[in-house]
């Protein structure tokens, strides 16, 4: 008991560094241990401990104040600082929870997806990717963001390429992602270079002070912001820069698709928020113009265009990937509105979308695990062969469309209200139009699954072939979670909403 209280105290004090160090070091350990079975257990326990830590930090941030951790005792601006505040804490918790669920799913999935020889390196790369994402979100030093961005991206390229055991196309997808991602990271670091030239510091808080003293700075900082937007836009899969995403999601190992879809783009969106609203300030005229015309513009076009493309895809994983691009549009629309209600709606949609897409990709992954195919036509009769999997898929699908009593409904209504507040009725129209398109592309799959006939194997109709429990558990956790957010069961919905409101107030500088 006493030891436990010392530990929880220590977690609050050292937690920010612990969240990065634990997965990073355990990734190194996992890469060398000879026992293959151990790798999964290590990964599992690391993600569990990280979730506990992230939850403690989250609680501390909510009931107390933000946390500032200085690496090696060197105070900012000279040292590297780690910051956990109302903006980063929910994302940290989201990433670690999704990591736990992905790891649970990964145990049965890797038996069919990854060669035995490559399983330990797979988990090592997964842990390093996890550490990189945590680092990106938690750090308060602009250059450190780039370092962690690369740590997570490079391990992601390797993870995507591991899909080659089942589908050789994943190699081309990984290479494409590598080129695009490297260009993105380069643009980002060029932007940081310009910012460093203008302000002479890399600490985000100090950068922000100097920029507001200079009232936005000279053309150098404008150019720097432009580069940062393009660089992050590639990582976010912002509409015209999204071309790497459908292929990477469709051909990666299914568990990596789940993890990427629900965390990697979200962490990049977090960085966009962090740079636009806390390092820069929306009161600078060029940021306001950027938000109003660029971010909102690509959001609107992306929502309509990507949803439209999703309808014509024949592979379910590509349908969901294009739908992810469209959902990024919703989030960016909320960011572009830039009022406290708009930001809160965008942030809430970010959290909800991670839950929804996680659920959908896990159910598609379970189907793929059983049958090895994911075309829309193959879903024929799936309600009879895999009722539980299809049930979770339906929950996720309804939530994606935004049917009442689901998570998608809550955030879409908030987004529509935020747009209506600003008299942007055209934005409301696009949100509704894009949701109608979602009905088409999700409905198409569900219709096939419900009314189609199950496939025949050796002349007899396949009766039942349910996914293993290890897959059903994370799938239904996320599916029920999205319902819980929608109907506010156990106060989960309210806590998501208040988390997004607090994040919005941090962004607008109303809360430290």
């Amino acid at each position: 008991m006493n030891l436990m209280s010392i530990f929880s105290q220590w977690i609050i004090e050292q937690g920010p560094a612990f969240l990065i160090v634990l997965p990073l070091l355990m990734g190194a350990v996992t890469a060398v241990i000879p026992n293959k079975g151990m790798a999964w257990w290590i990964t599992f326990f690391v993600t569990i401990i990280c979730t506990y830590t992230a939850f403690s930090l989250f609680q501390h941030v909510y009931f107390d104040s933000f946390l500032l951790y200085t690496m090696g005792g060197w105070n900012p601006p000279h040292g590297i600082s780690l910051i956990v505040d109302g903006l980063s804490a929910p994302i940290l918790l989201l990433i670690s929870v999704m990591a736990v669920l992905t790891v649970i799913y990964a145990l049965p999935a890797s038996i069919s997806e990854i060669e035995p020889k490559k399983r330990a390196p797979f988990y090592a790369a997964f842990l390093i990717c996890f550490a990189g994402l945590m680092g990106m979100v938690i750090t308060g030093d602009a250059f450190n963001v780039f370092v962690f961005l690369e740590v997570s991206s490079i391990s992601t390229y390797a993870l995507v390429a591991m899909g080659a055991a089942r589908d050789r196309r994943s190699l081309a997808a990984a290479y494409n992602y590598l080129i695009m991602g490297s260009i993105g990271a380069t643009f980002f670091v060029i932007g940081l270079g310009f910012l460093f030239m203008e302000t002479g510091t890399l600490n985000m808080a100090e950068m922000s002070d100097i920029l507001s003293e200079l009232d936005g700075g000279s053309r150098v900082s404008k150019v720097g912001y432009g580069f940062i937007i393009v660089g992050l836009g590639l990582k976010i899969a912002m509409f015209p820069l999204h071309t790497w995403l459908p292929r990477a999601y469709a051909y990666a190992p299914t568990k990596i698709t789940i993890f990427l879809a629900s965390t990697a783009t979200k962490a990049a969106i977090y960085l966009l928020l962090r740079f636009t609203f806390t390092v820069f300030d929306p009161s600078f005229d060029y940021i306001a113009i950027m938000l109003k015309y660029l971010i909102m513009g690509v959001a609107i076009v992306g929502m309509a265009f990507a949803s439209f493309q999703a309808i014509f895809q024949s592979d379910v994983r590509r349908v969901l990937a294009y739908s992810s691009v469209a959902q990024v549009g919703y989030i960016l629309l909320g960011i572009g509105i830039a009022t406290s209600s708009g930001l809160a709606a965008g942030y809430l949609h970010l959290l909800n979308h991670a839950v929804i897409k996680g659920c959908l990709f896990i159910s598609v992954g379970a189907f793929w695990y059983r049958f090895g195919i994911t075309r829309v036509n193959d879903f024929s009769g799936l309600f009879k062969t895999m009722p539980l999997t299809m049930g979770a898929f339906t929950l996720g699908g309804l939530s994606l469309i935004g049917v009442p009593f689901t998570a998608g409904f809550v955030s879409k209504v908030k987004l529509i209200l935020a747009a209506a507040e600003q008299d942007m009725w055209w934005a409301v129209l696009v949100i509704v139009f894009s949701s109608v398109l979602a009905i088409v592309y999700i409905g198409r799959i569900i219709l096939f699954a419900y009314f189609g006939t199950p496939p025949k194997i050796n002349g007899s109709i396949l009766v039942k072939n349910e996914a293993p429990l290890m897959m059903l558990f994370p799938m239904w956790t996320l599916g029920l979670m999205s319902i819980a957010i929608g109907v506010n069961a156990f106060g989960i919905g309210d806590s998501f909403v208040s988390a997004s409101e607090i994040a919005a107030s941090v962004l607008l500088g109303e809360r430290g």
């Binding site: 050292q14 612990f18 160090v21 990073l24 070091l25 190194a28 890469a31 090696g72």
Partner: protein
């Protein structure tokens, strides 16, 4: 049959130990002057690469087995991170070297040396890994093989 590269072989055999020695000079010079783990690691890897260029990849793989690479890479990270974990156990912040000895200045010295050794380990093995990966590539299929 005499070897056409006899001069190269004799000279590089003579040079390899000095390159390695210079790497360690740069390594231990690193905490109070220019140098450090990264530069030392590259120089040390250069010694192995020179050996491979002159005596062939197979001889180099006998001298520095590829199985060491993964261990070396991880060991480096673990040395670096382990120093941080040690400072945690001793009650300090992560990588606050001051707690490593009674005198904080000495602690800083020990900490830097341990961390730089980790960097040396990782950089050397990663450089050699890249060289081995490119060096052991099979030649692409040419027209006649179709």
């Amino acid at each position: 049959m005499h070897d056409p590269h006899v001069i190269l072989k004799v000279i590089s055999k003579f040079l390899v130990p000095f390159i390695a020695l210079f790497a360690f000079y740069v390594q231990f010079h690193g905490d109070f002057g220019p140098g450090g783990g990264f530069q030392a690691g590259v120089i040390l890897a250069a010694a192995v690469i020179l050996y491979a260029l002159i005596f062939g990849l197979d001889a180099a793989k006998k001298a520095f087995p590829p199985s060491w690479i993964r261990i070396g890479m991880s060991l480096g990270v673990l040395l670096y991170g382990g120093t941080g974990v040690l400072t945690w156990i001793l009650g300090g912040d992560f990588l606050s070297y001051g707690v490593l000895a009674h005198d904080p200045t000495h602690g800083q010295h020990y900490g830097i040396i341990a961390v730089e050794l980790g960097v040396l380990c990782s950089v050397t093995t990663v450089m050699i890994a890249i060289f081995y990966a490119f060096g052991s590539r099979q030649p692409e299929v040419n027209e006649d093989n179709w």
